[in-house]
Symmetry: C2
Subunit: 580 residues, 2 copies
């Protein structure tokens, strides 16, 4: 299906918006009236710009408060038709009336809309009538369809908007009752479920399909069954998107439509972590001490690059000694176990992820890698494969220790781009988002969302550094083990300075919350934190931060599925205190 | 009354919070449990810190989900009592149960609370029971009082919270039915009226009294009549405050209580503008051309400083050629006509505004000045007074032109400090806030609120540069005139480069919206914008920006009371385009 987007969905001046939208590969745009009003170019010039960029102008929007009035304001409508003719737009969105002067009279609404459609026909223009979720009398899509049917004019049809339909909890199956040729336009938006005034919800919190809680894909199924052949057009009002880079948001928007259509290249989802790569331009001595203290050994060195392989069980860390800058230690890449790496890269590329060049020395294993929105490099690997990536390091046997594998990695996303990251990991890697959480931090709030693979094998956590919490080191690698107390005891004995100290007040409260069994009593001395849910228990500890990264060691007991969220505020406060 | 604040209301670690709270002059604090848990200091040490700072610990909060359960969790309560003893706190907040396991049984709730109070008494601790607005069964303050009465224990009373009472629309007059000695604690918070889930509203949007829409003062009257003698304690959860500077927010909090109590020094409100001062360290030639083009003449020069007085009618501008830096032209000070400048400064000082030193040369008029939160200097003056400030300039006659006086000034507030500014101008200058507005900007949103004096004589606009809209020059001086078309014609003829160009599309739309009378038709050529309301019409134009300031010329026709808000998005878009 053709892909379109309303100009209001991205930031910038109208010309900047059009350029960003075209660059992302859209076929067309809806011109939002306010974007036209504030543009210094006359409509004829805007028409030429769009045409030069290969964009069709699918819709002009909106005409408000028109129908079911004591007198229809045809003068105003005629003025809009003139502007549309200059613009080369032939479809006008009329949204349902919110004026207190409107009458609850379907017959009158239909009569005036028929009159409007008749006038529009004289200009070669068609009218798409949309039920706003907060329309005074018409706020259900089937109601707008009844009025359109009653008006019975070839130049009058309905515009369906997934937000207006799904925010009210209406059943979208009724769409199938509308003949496809009478669905003149389809606007798509997703949104998180929020208990708030629907107008404010719509104006500030819409997002692209796949970024919210609505079943936009289900709605699309009904629209297709109805026989709709027009474009899929995104109309999203979002406070973050309107402050973000237009080109980046336009790509994010296009990715959402490709994912929604299911037209991305197929690939099996990654099943776990092959490795995590830490890069540093500083002296890596401190990091080596940390890895050794955690039970890792350096099992190999890359044949041609200053990269070391550190292993323990199936937990693998690459230490990349990038030269050049004073960049502190950072988590720069992750390797994912993929059944077919080449397919995984093709899928990512078809979802507009930048595919990284396969620069490598002769004899090195092939690299299938992409860049995530936050800049993290993602490598798709088959570690067990003969001549795989691990053999570039000519490694010895991995060390045996308490740590068995990587439990999860937590990546910090830039402000305004959290939704983009969520959709990226969801669509490219097939991860499912868990419930979003918010943690108080001494200087702000931290937004956090876990994403997990189909079998729970791959776990990632996305953090958003809210303003004020920006200095928090929230990028980390979590290592799974079967005996966290042994790890903690060794760290406490040999490297107490590497353990993040946990306040005694935390343990006083922990003992108030839970019956103090023998297990709990030892935690205070070892700086181990505790949580439990219906399915099991969770024990975890944190190291201090090295550069921009810290480590977590976790032990899952029973079927515990969380990440110790209840303890995050304690960790954040201690990290701040430790940093000062 | 004693003044207290919950530690959750300001940012930082617990020790930072206590220091900021003490510095602002509070008598006591509520210790929020999470602040204790994340603090590395043991409770005994926190107790000492507070005592050293002169702060009493008024309350420890909260114990949750205690009453009306199948079994009361006395073990957990005992643990809290132990922590409170170490902390030296003798009042525990118990908030009404939200657990699905709670029973709708007032008798059971009372019985368990009585048991809790009895145990508390053994530790010298009292219990303040509070109805959360979202409590499962107990969510009205009179309901919590019924249960307390039923429990009938000397160590059990109610805690009243203005947010929980007013957010539900409960009538606070019922407070007078509660004996003062059974009101163990009073928590105060204001909030803007928002149609959203009350829990989210409470956790993110509370603000200090006088910053929201609640009648907190009215509630306080009832509490006083009931005979309450405890502290006024602020408990505010606010996303901006938790990211802001703790010392600044603590002062803001204290100001809100002083204003609420009505204990500030009395002073008559300013009646209008004496002057606006523009400071520049650049060559002032461009600014002089601008002022001349607007019809001002330089009527005087200060005897001892590089300051020029420019006048037209009662509109007076000071051009301060500050040396030193490369600072671009900025609006740095305003002079306000005050019946008694000394009283105005005393009032501001009693509301914690920094009073500026009265540095001046012998023979200069006295200066009564304070600093606003955004750094703007505010001078209180009586221009008509003999030997007043104007005589320092030995001025000639003011020029006669179309411009008659200053209509308003618009000041940009820093991110996170909008509420502080609103309360400052409201309490210190007696200005009343109008409805808050939000304007789309090509790169974000601009929050804006007009503040007006009792007779409408003094008008100011506070703008908040939202992220992304930060580069927008939104600081400006609006000049009132009786014939804007004459001003526009002269500017257009003599200095067309100084007029902000308005897109033709704006006028196409204006003509679609309003019948094109003869008045409207001339506007397009002159770049004049138009608005109207029920009471009158508004014509205005903008100049280009000089440094960080621009000018607006406005003409109010009839009783129009707004600021042309409908045109702000056009202005913002053009300013962005012009700046690039």
């Amino acid at each position: 299906m053709r892909k379109s987007i309303a100009t209001v969905s991205v930031s910038g001046t109208l010309t900047e918006k059009l350029e960003a939208i075209a660059a992302a590969g859209f076929d067309g745009v809806e011109i939002f009236e306010n974007d036209l009003l504030t543009c210094p170019l006359p409509p004829e010039e805007i028409r030429l710009r769009a045409a030069d960029l290969g964009l069709s102008i699918e819709l002009y929007q909106p005409l408000r408060d028109f129908e079911a009035m004591p007198e229809p304001d045809l003068r105003r409508a005629e003025r809009k038709f003139q502007i549309m003719e200059r613009l080369g737009a032939d479809l006008l969105l009329v949204c349902s009336n919110v004026s207190p002067r409107a009458a609850a009279d379907d017959g009158l609404a239909a009569e005036q809309l028929r009159l409007l459609a008749e006038r529009a026909a004289g200009h070669g223009i068609r009218i798409a009538y949309e039920a706003l979720a907060w329309g005074r009398y018409v706020n259900e899509y089937l109601h707008s369809w009844r009025i359109v049917r009653l008006a019975d004019h070839p130049n009058l049809g309905v515009c369906l908007d997934s937000f207006h339909i799904l925010s009210r909890g209406s059943d979208p199956i009724g769409i199938e009752a509308v003949p496809g040729e009478k669905i003149f336009f389809l606007q798509l938006a997703d949104a998180p479920i929020l208990a708030m005034d629907v107008l404010q919800w719509s104006r500030h919190y819409r997002c692209f399909p796949g970024q919210g809680d609505f079943d936009v894909a289900g709605l699309l199924t009904h629209v297709r069954k109805a026989g709709y052949t027009g474009p899929l057009s995104l109309e999203v009002f979002n406070d973050h998107f309107r402050q973000a880079d237009a080109r980046r948001i336009a790509v994010d928007a296009m990715r959402s439509l490709i994912a929604l259509e299911g037209s991305a290249h197929p690939a099996e989802a990654p099943t776990g972590f092959a490795f995590a790569e830490l890069a540093t331009a500083e002296d890596p001595a401190g990091l080596r001490v940390m890895l050794t203290a955690l039970g890792f050994t350096r099992s190999g060195v890359h044949g041609g690059k200053p990269v070391e392989l550190w292993e323990q069980g199936r937990a693998r860390l690459l230490l990349n000694r990038t030269g050049g800058g004073p960049a502190p230690t950072a988590l720069t890449a992750i390797g994912l176990e993929s059944p077919e790496p080449a397919d995984a890269v093709k899928r990512a590329g078809s979802l507009l992820a930048p595919v990284l060049p396969r620069e490598r020395a002769p004899g090195d294993a092939p690299l299938d890698a992409i860049a995530a929105p936050d800049g993290t490099q993602i490598f798709f690997c088959r570690t067990a494969q003969p001549y795989g990536w691990r053999e570039d390091f000519a490694p010895g046997e991995p060390a045996a220790g308490e740590i068995t594998h990587l439990d999860h990695v937590a990546l910090t996303q830039p402000w305004h781009y959290f939704d983009e990251a969520e959709l990226f990991y969801r669509s490219v890697l097939g991860l499912a988002p868990q419930e979003g959480l918010e943690f108080p931090d001494p200087y702000g709030l931290l937004r956090s969302k876990a994403m997990t693979g189909p079998d729970g094998g791959l776990r990632m956590v996305l953090n958003l550094a809210q303003v004020g919490a920006g200095q928090t080191p929230s990028q980390h690698v979590a290592l799974a083990c079967d005996d966290i107390l042994a790890v903690a005891r060794r760290l406490r004995a040999e490297h107490p300075d590497l353990l993040l100290p946990i306040p005694g007040n935390y343990y006083d409260d922990l003992e108030a919350r839970h019956e103090a069994g023998p297990g709990l009593r030892g935690l205070r001395e070892l700086g181990v934190l505790y949580d439990r849910d219906e399915d099991g228990e969770f024990l975890h500890l944190y190291t201090v931060t090295v550069g921009r990264v810290f480590f977590e060691v976790v032990q899952r007991v029973g079927g515990y599925r969380g990440y110790g969220a209840v303890n995050a505020p304690v960790r954040l406060a201690v990290q701040h205190a430790h940093a000062h």
